[in-house]
Assembly symmetry: C2
Homo-oligomer: 430 residues x 2
């Protein structure tokens, strides 16, 4: 588009007082587009490259969604491990569908783990990303990734942190400050120091950068988004309570008369339901992180250390030097777990490892509790999570969400849905 | 901002090839703003009114979110009845909060029922909308409402249809064609003729207008949004099954040994849990509408008439001329319902009125079924809805959502959350 019609347009803008705007044009990669003032991210018109176009004529050349009208997103994935790998596979299958049906042009422009990284301007081919990634000789650089995404020709940069690393989450602020959005199943920021959490949330509010973390609680279950919508629409959370660990759900759903606690932990470990060291699950810290997150979502600014946690690791085994030693000694403590189980059963109850937030008292707790057989918590199967939310509107009957709350596929699905949510904030069709 | 710096800016745009855009300025109501090209709806900078500003200087005057940067939404509410009234009350309390915290400037610029309407450019004061509305002498005009919203100074127009009227839903296409978004708990489009449904969905895809209807199934429970996110992220729905009528949930949750079916229907009617004529609930049509909706969300294009529905209205009472006559004669049929209840109880089971969609066979059904006491459907209380969704990822353990699925407050909450979702598509902060 030559200078002269643009000037005409400038005149139209200033003289006519039209609430219109112009983007792109000139030598820019974007074709000129007219925007309505104030609200809509969608252009009212996208112009062709005809050099004789006058401003007035151009406005009449409005056309429906074209390639230039796609939502272009440059994604960096940090931590292509279990969840990251599942996510990249979901991307491989589904990104072409999203592009064709919804106009979302999402490209994976960076991959990194703690050692190396792979950058691309045009998007990494996902059919053989693993070979390419492992063949990369570039050293990992979490600032470099951000700079690369910002330099890509895709205007929406986002980093998806699929690690569980506190080191990585320390970069969120820096990334977000420079306009990069963050999506993560990593619980470290939301359950870490309030100061860092508040700084990230403040950036989210003030800088129009987005920070989504649906998969930090219940994996792909719609927990965080649901609570946020309740709060946004003026409902008031009274309490949130649930079974938030797939591992501990499995263990107590299986712990019935005639079974041994240590045998169940062993089976869970063998099936890959536990962390490499099962003490990481049995200590309750993971559940406490989720309780901290849910408390903050409900408006209670707790620190992880504020939450009393009933650890299921016997005191005597805390200092075992290896998980092998721990697993070997665990049977010595079967009797005391069996006693708890039998006492509960005698009262027609079951044991469940539960996290809860009480908004009125501002307290969170993590503990082993007993529930009658008819209670929703007693009805769980496998590695199901359950979340029970009492609010002004959902009282006395709570809103309850149940389902698999762990596993690479469902966690990746939760992360992916955050990415689609991010696109909506940039005008994606619904 | 005078013409000359704007011209400088135009030069910067064309000569520098910068992917920047300019909105507002001159005599427009919007202060001049610089936009990044391509993606973000948020301005990079909003300028003050200093007349000596040069374009270069102006860019340096970027400031954080200002009033001009608010998301401005003009809402028309059609049908201020039970749900509409609850919604307006939620708006009264929460809209100031959303404006202060999230920069959402949402104003109610129109109200209408079948008789009259009330229009306002600057937003109807919500503390006494009822008096104002009832005092309005303007006749209802569903085209006039659209024209009014489009003429308001708020750039995002939306009509919220809180009626259950097929007549009103016939206007959606016309509204959406002219750029007005539609939000509704009204089931008529999603369960009505496929042709009209497809036309509305096509507009949603092609015209960048939005159509949200979370509250059509399960009221405020996150059902529609969850299924949509699963499908969008590449999961495949296999089946959706549940108790979708708060009324019929209440009736069968209460229908235990020693109770009479007709007594329970009577209590439900007295508590306002049924439609004025309980046959409207007992016929199963409402559940069939929800099954049709869920089938379409899952990718199965069913018509309402494709769904076999087991009606609970005895054949002999279908032709009763009034609900009074129906209620009077219903006790004659208690024996046959008691027989069903006792047969189920003898097998350790309960009766539940269930809707289901089987994606593989492409079929939907609505019928009275028996479930063992341990089944999630047997655990319901009050007017709870439950939805159980089996997908590629959620199999064999389904994703389950339970909670109050009827009532003005929770339904209004579901509608309100759609409005916030709409704002996200226009760049609202998350």
């Amino acid at each position: 588009m030559p200078l002269s019609p643009l000037r005409d347009l400038a005149r139209l803008l200033t003289r006519g007082g039209l609430p219109l705007g112009l983007c792109g044009g000139g030598r820019s990669a974007w074709p000129p587009q007219i925007f309505g003032g104030g609200g809509g991210p969608r252009p009212l018109a996208t112009f062709g490259k005809e050099s004789s176009t006058t401003a007035e004529g151009a406005v009449n050349m409005a056309r429906p969604r074209a390639e230039a009208d796609e939502i272009k997103v440059a994604v960096g994935v940090v931590g292509p491990g279990l969840v990251g790998k599942a996510l990249l596979e979901q991307f491989r299958v589904q990104l072409p569908v999203l592009r064709a049906r919804r106009g979302l042009d999402i490209k994976i422009c960076a991959l990194a783990n703690s050692k190396r990284m792979l950058l691309s301007d045009s998007g990494i081919e996902l059919s053989d990303w693993k070979d390419r990634f492992e063949g990369s000789s570039e050293a990992s650089d979490l600032v470099g990734i951000k700079d690369h995404l910002l330099s890509c020709s895709m205007p929406i940069p986002v980093i998806i942190d699929c690690t569980a690393s506190d080191y990585v989450s320390d970069y969120y602020q820096q990334w977000m400050e420079s306009g990069v959005h963050v999506i993560t199943p990593n619980k470290k920021v939301n359950s870490g120091p309030l100061e860092r959490y508040n700084a990230v949330k403040k950036l989210q509010e003030e800088k129009h950068v987005h920070y989504f973390y649906e998969a930090t609680v219940g994996a792909g279950l719609p927990v965080i988004g649901t609570i946020k919508h309740l709060v946004d629409t003026g409902d008031r959370i009274k309490s949130v309570e649930g079974v938030f660990s797939g591992t501990l759900s499995y263990i107590f759903n299986s712990f019935k008369r005639g079974t041994k606690f240590s045998d169940i932990v062993k089976t869970a470990k063998e099936n890959g339901f536990t962390e490499p060291d099962p003490r990481d699950d049995l200590s309750g810290t993971d559940v406490a992180r989720k309780v901290t997150t849910l408390a903050r979502e409900s408006g209670v600014g707790l620190e992880l250390s504020d939450i009393p946690v009933e650890s299921l690791v016997p005191k005597e085994l805390e200092s075992c030097s290896s998980s092998e030693e721990f697993m070997q000694k665990l049977p010595e403590f079967d009797d005391q777990m069996t006693k708890l189980q039998e006492e509960a059963a005698a009262a027609g109850e079951v044991l469940r490892y539960v996290g809860s937030v009480d908004v009125a008292t501002g307290k969170g707790t993590v503990s082993l509790k007993r529930y009658p057989e008819s209670h929703p918590f007693a009805q769980l199967n496998g590695t199901d999570n359950i979340i029970l939310c009492v609010t002004d509107r959902y009282d006395p009957q709570p809103l309850v969400i149940t389902g698999p709350g762990a596993g690479a596929e469902v966690t990746a699905g939760g992360v992916f849905s955050d990415l689609i949510r991010l696109c909506s904030h940039f005008g994606a069709p619904s």
